[in-house]
Amino acid sequence: MLSIHNLHASIEGKKILNGINLEVKAGEVHAIMGPNGSGKSTLASILAGREEFEVTEGSVDFTGKDLLELSPEDRAREGVFLAFQYPVEIPGVSTINFLKTAINQIREYKGEKPLDAGTFLKTMKEKMKLVEIDQSLLNRSLNEGFSGGEKKRNEIFQMAMLEPRLAILDETDSGLDIDALRIVANGVNKLKNPDNAIILVTHYQRLLDYIVPDHVHVLYKGRIVKSGGKELALELEEKGYDWIKTEQAEIA
């Protein structure tokens, strides 16, 4: 579904990604871990189409399309979803209104008719249950005055509504209390199916207790320096990143 080949990127002349290779198949869950500042959010942003970053080398194929050629909105319409590490506030625009606009633009792109109000409402109620989110929150201005946890939960609600083929969750677990973490993780698990894929960016094993990854990757200084199964995350939890850093220093 997603195949990243030798991806290099920089911002303002500063190199951040140094040759990422990653293969994600439909039905898989990948976890990306790594120390602060290693480039995890940058990778997520580049996949979503953030223009500040300059891709200097490499390619990204998404379901047979050259992802880097598409505008950010077309990537979204093709099914790429990013749950932001820091969701943005939009005053005066409710989540409901926002999502309705989004869904209908996606439908228009696919040559489908706008969703009628009834169907929209019905879907919304279903998905609200899935992530146990309250309608009062959805009527409020998007993310404005939301608590950290509410913002994250709202991101997953949006994901549920948009049903993306590829969901990238950037530290969705941080800021969630224990109950919320379980609810959000359960929500994600229910959305998981053989046709979609999930990339989880996280620092902690506890999320991976709920959403079990098929592959775990360690990103360090803009490169994936280690990949493994779910046990790699446990090893990192136990030993930290020092051993990886030492390993890398030795290679260099």
Binding site: F81, P91, G92, I103, N104
Partner: protein, 482 residues
């Protein structure tokens, strides 16, 4: 409102000023230029009584002694008042008695503008007075309103049919010599709407006036007078458009509102005069005086305006809070793009005790435009316990436009409570990217964000107008980001 959001967003993909067509219609014009003869010509055309002519001439003589005001934060070449046609009327064969007799060209014009003149279409529930150039061409729903004792007609008709009301109230809120453009209007006004709501009557439908400048070289000088008697209520809407022309055309209107004890008047405007092209060529000079007086206790006047058009806007809908416990409100969204200039705001004059006012102004500047808020909150000595809350926000798009606020506060009673808040913001890259990431293109994202920003004001508008206004905001700002 949100139900219609998406259809709106779909529609906005094609831009440009869509009301820029001209109706080819025979007109009856006054010769160019301004003199006592012009005024006699207008008065004569309208077959006016002597007192009306005298009133006009007095205003004209006052105007001659006055000077064009220069304090506003706008700049434009001197207006040549001798180069304007002061009276232009679509030629009607005879007086129209029913809608079927209206010139088909005119009917088509209104259809293009999306205005229903058809009394059968009761669904729309809006009574319309339509003014083309200098005269009112049709007023709908008259009989139904008359059953309730409501008078809703053109100003010309009111001068003939209800002279006692016109003489009593016209000029009582905006005196003839109030300002340069008001004096000019008083001298040459050609038509407009008149509305009287009797005691205790709640007007069951929105009353609406639709203004259109059609003929080249004409100025439009209409006058609207709304009188709400004790305990009555009316919601009034005003819309305006003009063809695209390279020249600047002058629109100098006067609106007066009187609210007696316990009466309430809501006045909403969606102003969409032609703004000129990208380089600032052409467009309407919109120099308007709007003022209401809460003359009775517990009365209320609210102004809501969505200003997207005109090359230059100079306009300060105000409320004189004379009656104790009276309330004045001003809700405004003013958009400027390209080379547009707007200097707009309000005055809240607190005279009575326990009077309250609320000002919510949302400026949006894009392109190379200049957008100024100018407001005065004045509390008289006897205005015990007066309250004012003002919120003035500016949203900037790009870095070549300007936003300015000039709030003036004069308080002469220590018990007054005045609150003023102001913010300036920009549409952030982060916000746009967030929308893009959900599949929303940048143009629609801007529309969404701007409508969110202006929501508090748009919510004040009646439903049909709110939808129209949302579209307008989107269209006015097209191409201003990215």
């Amino acid at each position: 409102m949100s139900k219609n959001d998406n259809s709106i967003l779909e529609e906005i993909t094609s831009s440009e000023y869509k009301y820029g067509f001209e109706t080819i219609i025979e007109t009856d014009n006054a010769p160019k230029g301004l003199s006592e003869d012009t005024i006699r010509f207008i008065s004569n055309k309208k077959n006016e009584p002597e007192w009306m002519l005298e009133w006009r001439l007095k205003a004209y003589r006052q105007w001659l002694t006055m000077k064009n005001p220069l304090w506003a934060n706008v700049s434009y070449p001197q207006i040549d008042f001798q180069d304007i046609i002061y009276y232009s009327a679509p030629k009607q064969k005879k007086k129209v008695n029913s809608l079927d007799e209206i010139d088909p060209e005119l009917r088509k014009t209104f259809e293009k503008l999306g205005i229903s003149l058809d009394e059968q279409k009761r669904l729309s529930g809006v009574a319309v007075d339509a003014v083309i150039d200098s005269v009112s061409v049709v007023t709908t729903f008259k009989t139904k309103l008359a059953e309730l004792g409501i008078i809703f007609c053109s100003m010309s008709e009111a001068v003939h049919e209800h002279p006692e009301l016109v003489r009593k109230y016209m000029g009582s809120v905006v005196p003839v010599n109030d300002n340069y453009f008001a004096a000019l209007n008083s001298a040459v006004f050609s038509d407009g709407s008149f509305c009287y709501i009797p005691k205790g009557v709640r007007c069951p439908m929105e009353l609406s006036t639709y203004f259109r400048i059609n003929t080249a070289g004409t100025g439009q000088f209409e006058r609207t007078l709304i009188v709400a008697d004790e305990g009555s209520y009316v919601s009034y809407l005003e819309g305006c458009t003009a063809p695209m022309r390279d020249e600047n055309q002058l629109h100098a209107a006067v609106v007066e509102i009187v609210a007696h004890d316990h009466a309430e008047v809501k006045y909403s405007t969606v102003q969409n005069w032609y703004p000129g092209d990208k380089e600032g060529k052409g467009g309407i000079y919109n120099f308007v005086t709007k003022r209401g007086i809460c003359s009775g206790a517990y009365s209320k006047i609210s102004w809501t305006q969505v200003e997207t058009g005109s090359a230059i806007t100079w306009k300060y809908p105000s409320v004189i809070l004379k009656g104790d416990h009276s309330v004045g409100e001003f809700y405004s969204v003013a958009v400027t793009n390209n080379r547009q200039q707007a200097d707009t705001g309000t005055k809240m004059i607190h005279i009575g005790k326990h009077t309250r006012s609320r000002i919510v102004s949302k400026g949006i500047s894009a392109g190379k435009s200049q957008n100024s808020y100018r407001g005065l909150v004045q509390v008289f000595k006897r205005a015990e316990q007066a309250r004012n809350f003002s919120q003035c926000d500016s949203l900037l798009m790009g870095d070549q436009c300007g936003a300015h606020t000039f709030p003036y506060i004069e308080v002469n009673n220590p018990s007054a409570q005045i609150e003023h808040e102001a913010t300036t913001s920009k549409i952030g890259e982060d916000q746009l990217f967030y929308c893009n990431q959900r599949g929303i293109d940048t143009e629609s994202a801007v529309a969404l964000i701007v409508n969110g920003y202006a929501k508090e004001v748009l919510n004040q508008l009646p439903m049909e107008f709110a939808v129209e206004a949302q579209k307008l905001l989107a269209v006015s700002l097209e191409g201003s980001v990215g």
